[in-house]
């Protein structure tokens, strides 16, 4: 049907390029972007497992890359993406049960998920760096 040549020009409902960006909408888009980032980021996690399952030199290669400035930056980004996606998931879970749709509620839920993900990322990294010593 989509490939039909005689397609009737019908009015479009409002879509991304027409809506003024709203906070909840942007966070919804970020939820999807973090999901895509985590999808490919899982390669790093499996690389770590495979390196530990292989030789000490393979593990040393992984450790030096993960411990480099860019490596730490990527892992920091992965942590935030994971937490943002997790908070966003909980927010969507609440909405799935038909709660929190009021103008203030949905705004508060979205603000909490953004602030919570940033704060928790920083806290976890402080702990991780303290453990690492």
């Amino acid at each position: 049907m989509a490939d039909s040549p005689s397609r009737v020009e019908r009015p479009l409902s409002p879509h991304l390029q027409i809506y003024r960006p709203l906070f909840t909408m942007v966070m919804s888009i970020v939820h999807r972007i973090t999901g895509i980032g985590l999808y490919f980021g899982m390669v790093l996690f499996v690389w770590w497992l495979l390196a530990a399952a292989s030789t000490p030199s393979a593990f040393a290669t992984y450790s030096s890359l993960a411990g480099s400035f860019i490596g730490l930056l990527v892992l920091f980004g992965f942590t935030w993406a994971m937490l943002h996606h997790a908070f966003g998931g909980v927010r969507h879970f609440i909405w799935d049960f038909i709660h929190g749709f009021g103008p203030q509620e949905r705004m508060l839920l979205t603000q909490v998920s953004l602030a919570g993900s940033v704060a928790l990322t920083v806290v976890l990294w402080i702990i991780a760096l303290a453990v690492k010593g």
């Binding site: 989509a2 999807r32 999901g35 895509i36 985590l38 999808y39 899982m42 390669v43 996690f45 499996v46 497992l49 495979l50 530990a52 399952a53 000490p56 593990f59 040393a60 450790s63 411990g67 994971m82 997790a86 998931g89 909980v90 879970f93 799935d96 976890l124 702990i127 991780a128 760096l129 453990v131 690492k132 010593g133």
Partner: protein
Amino acid sequence: MSNPTHTPMRTPLGRVRGLGSAHSGTEHFFLQRVTGLANLLLMIAFIVIVIRLAGASYAETRAVLSQPLVAVIILLTLLSVTAHMRLGMQVVIEDYVHTEGVKVALIIANTFFTIAIALAGAFAVLKISLGG
């Protein structure tokens, strides 16, 4: 259905069981939620393990990863996360790719990628735990 000249061969019950041309109902949506919930619980244990192993040596990492509880948590995480990844990426592909052939190819690639991630990770954990 309201058209009296057209009587479908299949009974209403048969049509409901077959779920029409979509062939599936809410399984995708529901499994995305269930794996999301599992991910949330597993993530807490996962964070503890990863922080414990921040900057750890080869020997120490292997020692921790070979502990049965740790190994099982990581195996469960791989299973739940890759199932969640597959469903999520499928929705992204279906939302943005409208050329039928490319869409089908990407959905197959999505399945291959997520299963490869799951099995590669699981193999590594099992090798560390059992293979020595």
